[in-house]
């Protein structure tokens, strides 16, 4: 084994030695095989596969459409309830103190916003279809290519409380971690798993639990959540969590090198040298 290959090999073996390694030789540590010296010399590699890039941006577009139209629909009744029923004659759980697009809602404002529900509802459900179908394709990819096992489920070394607190304190100290350019740390992996397997299924379920046809045919979709109005309220809470994820996601991309990351998610290509010398990378 050449010294070069040995270095790379050790990189894969020992997590603690990552930071002592000379940076240009740090390669994807989740690579299923030991890279050869020729591969090490080549600096451009595929960061995100075509399928991941296409599904990423489709999901992004659908999510933004769902968010904008969802807010428009919310404005027509900015009151939230718990249980099966709720209307202006019943006590709300909480209320957004904003003007409404309906004059039947007592908002305290002396005016009514224009009604945008028609196209908002059409687009909301069309975007929901794009999100669900894209999600199914992505899910199949995750499972059948091993992407899930390799890159999203925390590695054996990461499955400890210390791994979480250690990485969190690294973030707080703004410590650089070059090795993470090519894979995800335990906090990223856990967050992605929560978003993919908890938040998105929950937002779809709570959405279906508001459909009179679906709940009529399958009452459990609504009753398991505590009723139609509970489903609507949970739908809002999950939306807030997903928006928080989106904000943190964009902030992290901006901090770790916006242009490099965007190029990687659009063209798929990432260059080791640019990643390491990028001025944006601090």
């Amino acid at each position: 084994m050449s010294p070069l290959a040995r270095t790379v090999f050790e990189c894969r073996r020992s997590v603690t030695s990552y930071r002592e390694l000379p940076l240009p030789w740090v390669l994807p540590c989740y690579s299923p095989r030991v890279p050869t010296a020729t591969e090490v010399r080549s600096t451009t590699h595929v960061r995100h596969s075509l399928l991941v890039r296409v599904t990423h941006w489709l999901t992004f577009l659908a999510f933004i459409a769902l968010l904008v139209t969802g807010v428009e629909i919310l404005i027509s009744h900015p009151r939230f309830y718990w249980g099966e029923v709720g209307n202006v004659n019943t006590q709300p759980l909480f209320t957004f103190h904003i003007p409404s697009s309906r004059d039947t809602v007592p908002t305290g404002y002396g005016y009514v916003l224009p009604d945008q529900n028609g196209w908002s509802r059409y687009l909301h459900f069309e975007a929901a279809w794009i999100l669900v179908l894209t999600g199914l394709v992505y899910l199949a990819y995750l499972i059948f290519t091993g992407h899930l096992r390799r890159n999203l489920i925390p590695t054996r070394e990461q499955r400890s409380f210390r791994a979480y607190t250690g990485r969190a304190s690294d973030y707080l100290r703004r410590a650089r971690s070059g090795v993470e350019l090519h894979t995800y740390n335990v906090l990223q992996r856990s967050t992605y798993l929560v978003v993919i397997f908890i938040l998105f299924p929950l937002i779809i379920w709570t959405g279906l639990a508001m459909s009179p046809a679906v709940t009529s045919a399958f009452p459990a979709t609504s009753s398991l959540l505590g009723g139609r109005q509970s489903a609507r309220t949970i739908h809002l809470f999950v939306t807030i969590l997903l928006v928080l994820f989106l904000i943190v996601h964009i902030v992290m991309v901006a901090i770790s090198g916006f242009r490099v990351r965007m190029r990687a998610m659009i063209t798929g290509k990432a260059t080791l040298s640019t990643e390491f010398t990028s001025k944006e990378l601090r």
Partner: protein
């Protein structure tokens, strides 16, 4: 030239052609099974069609969701009638709706003209269901009426019947449902609510209740039903007044 690009081109081309052919075939099959809504065109048509087709297949033979009596809302809410109430309605209301008629025509063997007592005598069903408005609010009430299927049985549907358009005495206020919805046992011509007559505020004397769809499909003050094979010649051909105002024809969601 990258040696892979030709293979990629061939693969992409074949996939695109197969995809387009598959979509065209799917559209044909969906059309023949009545899974294409009248408002399937335009920017949002794909989403509306997917929702309608999927929900129609999944919910076709499912029962209605009914609630226990103790869940009936103490203070139900109804949108105030903000549109022009025609003089004919005011006159009929003054006569306690004794002259109100529901006419049934179109693709039926025996066109009907039914008074409220005629409907009561025909068949009665009571159900406790939720009214869910597209805005987000809802309430539960007991609805008493004549199943639409009983009225259609009385009139006798012609084999080419596909849709059922229903009209309010309020001008430009009309809607339609497909035959599956019209014949579902939960779809009622409602004349009673919570053990009393149906109040005018909730659509009395007659309201079509389609509890498996959002509240706006349950049109108030109906006086006319037409059975048809196509919605193309009603209004702008989108199926109901709702799409003309920007709202989806199918309101199962």
């Amino acid at each position: 030239m990258n040696p892979l690009s030709r293979r990629k081109l061939l693969f992409t081309g074949t996939a695109a052609v197969a995809g387009a052919a598959g979509l065209a075939a799917a559209a044909r099959i969906a059309e023949s099974y009545g899974l294409i809504p009248p408002d399937h065109g335009g920017l949002y048509g794909a989403g509306a069609t997917l929702t309608y087709a999927c929900q129609r297949v999944l919910t076709l033979h499912r029962p209605l969701r009914e609630f226990p009596r103790n869940m009936i809302s103490k203070s139900p809410f109804a949108n105030p009638v903000i549109f022009n109430v025609p003089d004919a309605f005011k006159r009929s209301r003054a006569a306690n709706f004794s002259d109100w008629r529901l006419t049934v025509d179109g693709l039926v063997d025996h066109p009907l003209s039914l008074s409220v007592p005629d409907l009561r005598a025909l068949a009665t069903r009571s159900q406790i269901t939720e009214v869910a408005c597209e805005e987000g609010w809802s309430y539960i009430a007991e609805w008493i009426g004549t199943p639409l299927s009983a009225v259609l049985r009385e009139a006798g549907l012609k084999p080419e019947a596909r849709f059922l358009a229903y009209f309010s005495i309020q001008p430009d206020w009309w809607d339609s449902v497909d035959l599956a919805e019209a014949l579902h046992p939960g779809t009622l011509i409602t004349w009673g609510m919570n053990d009393g007559d149906l109040p005018v505020g909730f659509g009395g004397p007659l309201r079509l209740r389609a509890p498996r769809q959002l509240g706006y499909k349950s049109v108030k003050f109906i006086n006319h039903i037409t059975v048809t094979d196509s919605m193309k010649h009603f209004g702008k051909g989108l199926g109901s007044a709702a799409p003309e105002g920007g709202y989806a024809w199918y309101a199962g969601i």
